[in-house]
């Protein structure tokens, strides 16, 4: 059922997706003991599997660890890594650290925003690209740095932006 033709088909598709997420969550939780110190590793593993942290999932994690939901939500919103909404298939991360800034990363970011039509923190409507800024990747000698999915591009210039965007999806 790759092309849902009715509202009912879409509903069924969504339910199937939810069930798959539930199953994946069960699998992950079964490997943990249920202790407080496991909260962040669990959130990281679940986000890795599902792409983000849906509300229902956060509630289940809270229950598993016997924590108030607000505590889990508080942790999720504190750390920049966690996403509350799905991200694009390709994640473009522009480094905005000191060395990259001094070597022109602001212009690189502006160029990427122009080419993708979104600003940092947003996802393209077709869910193909998400754009984020990162404080520092630790490749400062290769500044300015852009990371597309897992590939690190050093010594970036505005002219190279088109090339790295066209190379995705991988």
């Amino acid at each position: 059922m790759s092309n849902p033709s009715t509202a009912r088909d879409t509903q069924v598709l969504l339910e199937e997706k939810e069930k798959a997420s539930e199953k994946r969550l069960d699998e992950i939780l079964s490997t943990y003991r249920g202790e407080r110190e496991e909260l962040i590793p669990i959130l990281q593993q679940v986000q890795q599997a599902l792409g983000y942290l849906p509300e229902a999932v956060m509630k289940r994690i809270a229950k598993f660890l016997r924590l108030p939901e607000s505590t889990v939500f508080g942790v999720v919103t504190f750390y920049a890594q966690f996403r509350l909404a799905p991200s694009g298939r390709n994640i473009i991360r522009v480094c905005r650290g000191t060395a990259c800034h001094v070597r022109g990363s602001a212009q690189i970011l502006a160029e990427i925003e122009k080419q993708l039509g979104i600003t940092a923190g947003e996802t393209t409507p077709d869910l193909e690209y998400s754009l984020e800024t990162i404080a520092c990747f630790g490749s400062c000698a290769l500044a300015p740095v852009v990371v597309t999915n897992d590939k690190v591009h050093g010594r970036m210039t505005a002219t190279k932006v088109g090339k790295i965007l066209n190379k995705e999806p991988q």
């Binding site: 990281q44 750390y79 400062c140 500044a143």
Partner: protein
Amino acid sequence: MKFEEIKNQAMQQWKAMQQSENIRILIGMGTCGRAAGAEDILEVLNQELGQNSIRADILPVGCIGLCYAEPLIEVMKPGMPSVFYGNLTPEIVPEIVKDYLVDGNPRPELALGIRGEGELAGIPNLFDLPVLKPQVRISLRNCGNIDPENIDHYIANGGYEGLAKALIMKPQQVIDETKKSGLRGRGGAGFPTGLKWQFCHDAPGDIKYVICNADEGDPGAFMDRALLEGDPHAVMEGILIGAYAIGASEGYIYIRAEYPLAIQRLRIAIKQMEEYGLIGDDIMGSGFGFHIKIKEGAGAFVCGEETALLASIEGGRGMPRSRPPFPAQSGLWGKPTNINNVETWSNVSAILAKGADWYAGYGTEKSKGTKNFSLAGKVVRTGLIEVPMGISLREIVYDIGGGIPDGKSLKAVQTGGPSGGFIPESLIDLPVDYESLAQAGSIMGSGGMVVVDEDTCMVDITKFFLTFTQSESCGKCIPCRWGTKQMLDILVDITEGRGRPGDIELLQELAEAVKDDSLCGLGQTAPNPVLTSIRYFREEYEKHIFERRCSAMQCQALVSYYILPERCQGCMICARNCPVQAIEGGKRMVHVIAQDKCIGCGTCLDVCPPKFNAVVKISGAKPLDIPEKPVPVAAES
């Protein structure tokens, strides 16, 4: 297998490798090498070797610190000094394979340098070159020389000797040796390491923890990443020694999630240690047992602060707490805990292996040993360096770093990341040690060192740092939560032409309040860029506020583009390229930029043909002879 047997076997294998009849090629495969394209180079290299039927052993190694020359390889032909080639491209690699490996011509003009005994086509010894000569690689001793995923390489080069020695000493003796070395914490605060261990050792309690702080959140710092990727065992050995000295049987490595390769290498290293009985119960048959877990950060700069780090490991928001009690008395889950930085741990393993006196032979009276720096920014040879404490900034920037590119002049060196300050050019002969940097208003910090030149606006870069610290402030205490926001707002106003008389004094007052009253190191040091930039570059602030001028021409709101009527020849190239159609003019008419439409992108300046050079970028008063509307180009040439 006992450690002695493991060591002998490892040394034999290493020796066999050194004396191999095969050609060996070492290739830098740290994150920076990969960012520069090392993976493509490896592919081309394999292809060329195959095509020329050359048998070669290829060894991936960590960072040798010459990031400006990545991707780089070291080619070892049996019986000859090895040759380093850098700035490789897929085009140059086939040439090197054919010319050197097949025809015996090392192509000296392409070589960076040689290593080892002997002479080769007049190529200089890499370690005699200005970039490496002043360096003393202690924590980075193995990076670039060994395969970081092979524990036998580490062991063959003196690895785990320090641990072996420590385990037959009493814990107090290990602490004394560390004290004698003069080692101070390399994470930034510079607290004497031996003394810190003593506090934790003396604290009552049976359960104690040691932690490795691998959060390295400072933008501009990548020393710890390179160390963990290039030689994880140097760090692990240090942690074991510290745990033994303190009496801790459990530990954590808190590492930022943005370092996936380092995390992977650590996991491999720990597994290998388990196989050799170097971690777990009964290490090296000594009766000492130690287990470690890896905890990944989740993107919060404040978690590099030790008490926020503890909160994060415990599964909470990374918010610091007030001290006392200090972690040494009450840390992780209230137990005595000792936290040290990655670089500190890798120095510990060297110190126990070679002795405190040896280590104290380097550095100055109060700052012993060596320090890693990530040299970045406007400098020719960016890279990872390790230098003895006391070396001057001049030597670092000009000898090692090769000076400022494009003939520009040095303006300042920023040390200590967003917690640090700017050292102006006038203080370039300052020795790099804890006390001197603090006196100048900066800090040693974790080792980030960013060089800025005349094109950097000090107000803009201060705003840049405050943007970072303000967004990373955890929000717990008012001085930091509000203070950073207010300082940032004032800086934004100044850079956008809304600065007011009294702003500099207000910034200073706020900065001092935030520094004195914040709960943790983030807030206490966030004002440092403000305080040092006002101290050394006050006139830049004054120009922004009183003249609405940015002399470095970085602050977009204070910069305008004009077309000079005496140079414009009406070629229309700028008007065609302007993204917002802000340029009016026809053929052979002097073009005019509509200032109200101009977005300051600089495209017109980029595209105006060099022979005309008619576009100027200025900050300050408008040139007098700019016409309001296009006029015919003047008749004379």
